[in-house]
């Protein structure tokens, strides 16, 4: 599926530049964190009530704050200091911010992984068939694509979420099931309808790229040869057209992954995600207390930025190495 020329191109650009290395390292770390979140977390991310003895949430180091408490009718000012128990402090309901940030990586990655896979499964077969056969199927697809593209992705996602509602799906945690992390939740909620919605707003990109590839590949000599042997169309599509359109689709998948992470976070921030473990949701809860407890909104945001930076760096690397003129590469959410 990947030719030697492409492979050597990939290796050369990886060796020569710092940014791809940074991207791969960063993504590896994030995937590791997401996978082993129950082991790395210090607290159950859903357990509330971790408050300082003076009543407020714990701040991270450097964010100590003063608050007032009334004791026996007397109002006194007390300082709330950070604790080693909660590395990045706790949030307004007393949940551990560090542990929630780790679990947020899980939600973010799972949604983008499932979302991209679903979009691939929807868009690529559709696009390949349309491009290969042409004619009415092709016309129908391209009109549908035009209609889809007339709506900004985020606006369309909001509309679809409005229709579907936000249905979380509970996914059992294999690490906890294996007994590697005691006291952690046995299952975590993944925003199910958000995953479907991000696939529904991004599949059309895959369909367009796959169509473009199929259009040019169907006139290649080897396809004509296969057809003259009497090879069935589905077999040509599977054995010749799909493998040869692989490269641009992979590049697009990387770019769309970053966009999906962004859409998921945005939907969660707007309160349409259905799970409280999302980074976007955490920022939403932090914004009301931004002035006094800024870390609650800061920490998950850094998580989102790192995740998107890593995927973008890898996307840039793949694009530079594989295909500089890919459609959709500079179009966002």
């Amino acid at each position: 599926m990947i030719s030697d020329r492409v492979r050597s191109n990939l290796k050369r650009t990886f060796r020569e530049s710092l940014l791809p290395k940074l991207g791969v390292t960063l993504l590896t770390v994030i995937v590791f964190v997401a996978l082993f979140a129950p082991v790395l977390a210090t607290h159950d991310p859903t357990r509330t009530g971790n408050f300082h003895e003076n009543g407020g949430p714990y701040p991270p180091p450097g964010f100590d704050y003063t608050t007032t408490v009334s004791q026996d009718g007397e109002i006194t000012e007390v300082t709330v200091t950070s604790t080693e128990k909660h590395l990045l402090g706790t949030n307004t309901v007393g949940q551990d911010v560090y542990s929630r940030a780790l679990y947020g990586a899980r939600v973010s990655l799972l949604v983008s992984l499932f979302g991209v896979s679903l979009a691939l499964l929807l868009g690529v077969p559709f696009g390949l068939v349309a491009g290969y056969y042409g004619g009415r199927i092709d016309d129908g697809l391209m009109r549908l694509a035009d209609i889809m593209l007339a709506f900004p992705a985020l606006v369309l996602a909001l509309a679809l979420i409005g229709v579907f509602g936000s249905q979380p799906v509970r996914v059992p945690d294999p690490i906890v099931a294996a007994g590697l992390a005691d006291g952690m939740p046995e299952s975590i909620p993944i925003p199910g309808s958000v995953t479907v919605v991000v696939a529904l707003v991004t599949w059309v990109w895959f369909a367009r790229v796959a169509r473009g590839e199929a259009l040019s590949i169907r006139n290649e000599e080897y396809v004509k040869a296969a057809r003259s042997f009497g090879t069935a169309d589905w077999r040509i599509l599977l054995k010749h057209v799909l493998p040869n359109s692989f490269t641009p689709i992979i590049v697009l998948a990387t770019i769309q992954m970053a966009i999906i992470i962004l859409i998921e976070a945005s939907l969660a921030y707007l309160g349409f995600s259905g799970t409280t473990l999302s980074w976007g949701y955490e920022i939403e809860t932090g914004q009301d207390v931004l002035r006094t407890r800024p870390w609650i909104a800061m920490v998950p945001g850094i998580g989102i930025v790192l995740a998107i930076v890593s995927v973008n760096l890898i996307g840039d690397w793949l694009r530079d190495a594989l295909d500089p003129n890919i459609e959709g590469s500079e179009r966002g959410a």
């Binding site: 992705a153 979420i161 976007g280 002035r291 966002g332």
Partner: protein, 309 residues
């Protein structure tokens, strides 16, 4: 509409009056017919015409979108040029890092961090957050003890002409700066990248060598020829990115409580006001298509080789 105690007769009457007894395709036809005449339907929840509710929110969104685009172009093009003409210098690395972070930062978080930085930590009188306001962040102005006053650009300019006072214009600038920077950062980053890579691509083309050989000074080559040719793909992407801009406006307006279409869309979603939601989304889609037609028309101006058939 009728409440729980409605009689069957009354229900039938309303069904007939609203055309709900017609088959679905007739109802749909009515709706589409209305759309073509600019009738976006009726919001039962707000008891108002959707079209009016959309129209009154357009100016604020356009102000925000235009300000964001202006900031993006003003910062990004020079930044991209510096980055391209001084490749592999600290300037270039800085611009590259900035654009990488810019395209990777969700604008709602960026908005909050800007508010935190300018409004809270440095105490600069910019929009700040009203603590404990519930669902939405409210924008208030520290320098206005009377509380929030919203001014639109139109109103501010009118005040300027009527009384010669710059007060409202200044207030408007203060109100729009942070939201516009928040919305514009993604585009600034994107255009910086495009300008840089576009100029580097163009510089390698034979006509550049030819103009240089002709003895044209380097500066003139860069600006009159290379930059001008780089602008064509940038305009294309900007047009295509208007969708992202609209999506970003929805979020930015929510963060800053900016009274535009996006904020209205989110509140319509929150209360499940379907006719209003549908009307806003259709309007945004139509705007998006119109903008892209305008961008296509711009090509003929920028690139004489292109003509509209």
């Amino acid at each position: 509409m009728l409440g729980q105690g409605a009689t069957q007769d009354l229900i039938e009457e309303v069904r007939e009056a609203e055309g709900l007894d017609e088959p679905i395709y007739v109802q749909y036809g009515d709706y589409i017919g209305g759309l073509l005449r600019g009738d976006l339907g009726y919001s039962w929840r707000s008891e108002r015409d959707v079209a009016a509710m959309v129209v009154e929110r357009i100016p604020a969104t356009i102000e925000l979108a235009v300000a964001a685009t202006a900031i993006a172009i003003l910062i990004a093009v020079p930044l991209g040029v510096i980055s391209a003409t001084r490749r592999d210098t600290p300037y270039d690395y800085g611009a590259t890092l900035f654009s990488l972070l810019g395209i990777s930062t969700p604008n709602f978080w960026l908005g909050l961090m800007l508010v935190l930085l300018f409004g809270v930590w440095y105490g600069i009188p910019y929009p700040t957050i009203d603590v404990g306001s519930g669902l939405w962040i409210r924008v208030e102005f520290v320098d206005l003890p009377t509380g929030r006053r919203e001014v639109g650009l139109g109103g501010a300019v009118l005040t300027l002409f009527r009384s010669g006072s710059f007060g409202d214009l200044w207030l408007w600038i203060k109100q729009i700066t942070l939201p516009a920077v928040t919305l514009g950062t993604y585009f600034t980053a994107l255009i910086t990248r495009l300008t840089r890579s576009g100029m580097i691509d163009e510089s390698g083309k034979p006509y550049v060598t030819a103009t240089r050989a002709k003895g044209l000074p380097g500066v003139l080559v860069q600006y009159k020829h290379v930059l001008r040719n780089t602008m064509i793909p940038i305009i294309t992407v900007l047009g295509l990115q208007m969708g992202t801009l609209m999506g970003g406006a929805v979020i930015t307006e929510t963060v800053f409580n900016w009274p535009g279409l996006g904020l209205r869309l989110i509140s319509a979603l929150g209360v499940r006001d379907w006719p209003l939601m549908q009307g806003i989304i259709i309007f945004i889609a139509v705007m998006f298509v119109v903008i892209n037609i305008v961008v296509d028309a711009l090509y003929t101006y920028l690139d004489p080789q292109v003509s509209l058939e």
